[in-house]
């Protein structure tokens, strides 16, 4: 089977899954059929992704970029919009990661979402999301990219506001949608800027003209790339378009695992990697990407230190790690960036799944302040958290270690002002280790709290009344709100299987690119990045320095966290908070980005909306145009109506006057 056929099938199965699940919507209240259907669709998709991978590897390296067209949508002089996919190592890597991790998350959700009245809807949306993501990843021209991008936006909004009767969830969905649509506009405008001079929408065709573009139309190219970056930043939650990601934790935990760890937020990274020939022609755009990436990774790490909602800590860590990836692919470390994307997908999804398990044990509560001492009650979950935490902190031999250090090594290679990126990268790695293990120690060490104690006795704690964890509002468990059941990993087979697989992958995932030992990922991605003008040679000194530094900082961070929270009961952190109250306030308020955006954008927009409605709509449109035109017609008809008085003599007079006028006319004529 050719790679493209396998890719088309891998694309088709999630779509089929969506449609079947949508038709089975009635079964969601009682059975888990839709869950299994969704998982099976994804499993088939993953199988065909593997087939595509093997088939691609079976070809010789020069012929590993294949375009397959289903049909021509609109092919005219300057536009060639085709329904075509591009199968090359980069897209196959993304295909594998997306379908693989999605399959495991589907498996997890089969158990986790049990009892929710919107079960079938959930799996339909989830499958649709995977389909959109695959469409985005496999697109071979800008049109399909934009379509996939927009579908992903839509699917993510549907999933974030899945519990649609919660106002916090719908607000979060709206926020994510608005910011992502801004990104969509950026992509479309960027496409136009690039299309102006290339005359083709096809990726390979555009890349063939990359050199010429860079030489002759530098300004347009840079503008177009920066607009594309706007799209990438919106989707990947980079500053300043990141405010939707923490709020998006309102969605169910599997959604956070899938969308906000492994797939959607990596779309921006994929975009930059895909467009690398263009980015290499425009140093400005590449630098913008790198700078935004590094700023994001530092800011997110600082915020992660003080946040108290369990899922939001993990969300900020996602933001930070994506910052690493964006920085990597903007500066030419493509393989390193994709490597980190892959490993991050593993351990971040694992962390989210484990967090979901803990939240279930807490009866839906997400606040870290209320969690203590789950170590004995939930050993499997604790183990998964530990593995994920070690990978995230970058401790060897876990996968996160190799991927993160690879990125920073390239920064050292480039030298110049990239040394700042290097330093900041390691600083943030240190902070990452601290906040990750803060989370783990606070939740699992210490005296078991009420819920943990109940669980040790074998009984899952339930809140007396289901409430919204953020606002405390009382809810019911009917459709639109979370279901009454809570599922933890220790008790559910599917959840254990999914988390176990991810834990395994997080542990040994680094094997594909161990420096000086294996170059599997490098070789695999070689055909895609063969024409890259950025060449990195690893110098031994920097390599060992980086590896040692990474390991040391990671261990130091864990040790500090251990000292403060595992043995020290958190008092040192409180002292530090009082001493640096201003800094703490800055971090807790998320560097005031929400407030700034509110002032700069939301207020003027709502002012304009109010103005448009009250002044323009009411006075101009309704008053002048509508009222004016009807008024004119009404006045005219009133004038004509006056003729019909019913007064016989008036009618007769009109008749005679008319007759006299006609006669006069004829008299005058002759």
């Amino acid at each position: 089977m050719s790679p493209t056929t396998a890719a088309w099938l891998a694309l088709a199965f999630p779509l089929a899954g969506t449609i079947i699940n949508a038709l089975l919507y009635r079964t969601g209240r009682t059975s888990r059929l839709t869950g299994y259907v969704g998982t099976a669709a994804l499993a088939l998709s993953f199988a065909f992704a593997i087939v595509a991978f093997l088939s691609l590897q079976g070809r010789d390296p020069e012929h590993r970029q294949i375009v397959s067209t289903l049909y021509d949508y609109a092919v005219t002089g300057s536009i060639d919009a085709r329904m075509a996919i591009l199968v090359d190592p980069l897209s196959v890597l993304m295909l594998l990661v997306v379908t693989g991790v999605s399959m495991l998350i589907h498996l997890y959700s089969v158990a986790y979402m049990g009892g929710d009245r919107g079960y079938a809807r959930f799996f339909a949306y989830l499958n649709f999301f995977v389909f959109s993501m695959l469409l985005l990843v496999l697109a071979s021209n800008f049109v399909l990219l934009v379509i996939g991008w927009a579908f992903v936006t839509a699917a993510s909004t549907l999933l974030i506001s899945f519990w649609y009767r919660r106002q916090t969830a719908t607000r979060a969905g709206v926020k994510s949608f608005v910011i992502n649509v801004l990104g969509d506009i950026g992509i479309i405008l960027g496409t136009f800027f690039i299309l102006r001079h290339t005359g083709t929408l096809d990726f390979l065709g555009t890349f063939a003209q990359a050199q010429e573009l860079g030489a002759q139309h530098q300004a347009d190219l840079t503008a177009g790339l920066i607009l594309l970056l706007v799209g990438a930043f919106a989707k990947s939650a980079q500053i300043p378009l990141h405010t939707w990601l923490p709020d998006a934790m309102e969605g169910p935990t599997p959604v956070s695992a899938l969308i906000h760890a492994a797939t959607m937020v990596t779309a921006g990274v994929y975009l930059i990697a895909r467009m690398h020939p263009l980015f290499e022609q425009s140093a400005t755009a590449a630098n913008v990407g790198a700078i935004v990436g590094v700023v994001t990774l530092l800011v997110a790490a600082t915020i992660g230190l003080v946040v108290t909602d369990l899922k939001r800590i993990i969300a900020y860590s996602t933001m930070s790690q994506i910052g690493y990836m964006i920085m990597a692919v903007s500066t030419g470390a493509y393989v390193a960036g994709m490597f980190h994307l892959m490993t991050h997908a593993f351990f971040k999804a694992l962390l989210f799944m484990a967090a979901g398990s803990v939240i279930s044990a807490m009866g839906g509560e997400q606040n870290l302040d209320r969690m203590r001492g789950f170590r004995k009650a939930m050993p499997f979950t604790y183990g998964c958290f530990v593995i994920g935490g070690l990978a995230l902190a970058g401790i060897p031999p876990f996968s996160g270690f190799f991927s993160k250090d690879e990125i920073l090594l390239v920064q050292a290679q480039i030298g110049g002002w990239h040394w700042i990126l290097y330093v900041v990268g390691y600083l943030a790695a240190f902070l990452t280790a601290i906040y990750t293990w803060r989370m783990i120690f606070r939740a699992f060490w210490g005296e078991p709290n009420e819920q943990a104690r109940e669980l040790e006795h074998g009984h899952l704690w339930h809140a007396p009344q289901p409430t919204n964890p953020a606002t405390g509002e009382v809810e019911d468990t009917d459709v639109g709100f979370p279901g009454p059941e809570h599922h933890i990993a220790e008790r559910e087979g599917p959840m254990k299987l999914a988390m176990g697989t991810l834990a395994f992958l997080a542990t040994i995932g680094g094997i594909v690119l161990i420096p000086k030992t294996t170059t599997w990922l490098d070789d695999f991605l070689e055909p895609t990045f063969a024409n890259s003008s950025v060449v990195h040679h690893a110098s031994n000194g920097k390599l060992w320095l980086g590896l040692a530094l990474g390991a040391a900082l990671g261990l130091a961070g864990i040790f500090i966290a251990y000292k403060i929270w595992a043995t020290g009961d958190g008092r040192a952190a409180l002292h530090l908070r009082e001493r640096l109250a201003g800094v703490h306030r800055l971090f807790v308020n998320k560097w005031y980005f929400d407030e700034i955006i509110g002032w700069l954008i939301v207020r003027p927009a709502s002012w304009f909306g109010r103005f448009a409605q009250q002044t323009f709509e009411r006075i101009v449109v309704n008053g002048v145009f509508v009222g004016g035109s009807t008024g004119v017609v009404r006045a005219g008809s009133a004038a004509v109506r006056a003729l019909q008085s019913g007064f016989l003599r008036a009618y007769a007079a009109l008749l005679l006057v008319g007759a006299a006028a006609v006669i006069l006319y004829f008299l005058l004529q002759s």
């Binding site: 109506r641 003729l643 019909q644 008085s645 019913g646 007064f647 016989l648 003599r649 007769a652 007079a653 005679l656």
Partner: protein, 99 residues
């Protein structure tokens, strides 16, 4: 006498009838003035018939007489009905048919 005189006479009677229609308030008298106008038309027709020397005008005039008779019958029937209904028999008061 040249035909012109008859035609002038017809014009005068016609305009007299028109003035009467516009001026009088009693519907009966309005109908009478209408008769005047019709008769003026008849006179003109007969004069033209004499001028051309064929009988077309006279036949036309007969038909006009028929029409006038019918109209009078109906019109007077209406006036009688109005009177029976106890409405004021005055064209200025009878203006229900307005827009």
């Amino acid at each position: 006498m040249s035909i012109t005189w008859y035609l002038c006479l017809s014009a005068l009677v016609f305009s007299l009838g028109a003035a009467g229609v516009l001026t009088r308030r009693n519907p009966l008298v309005v109908l009478l003035c209408l008769e005047l106008m019709l008769n003026a038309g008849n006179l003109a027709l007969v004069a033209f018939s004499r001028m051309w020397g064929n009988g077309d005008g006279q036949v036309f005039a007969i038909i006009v007489m028929v029409v006038a008779a019918c109209e009078v019958a109906i019109g007077l029937g209406l006036v009688v009905a109005i009177f029976r209904r106890r409405l004021p028999v005055d064209v200025d008061e009878l203006r229900e048919l307005h827009g």
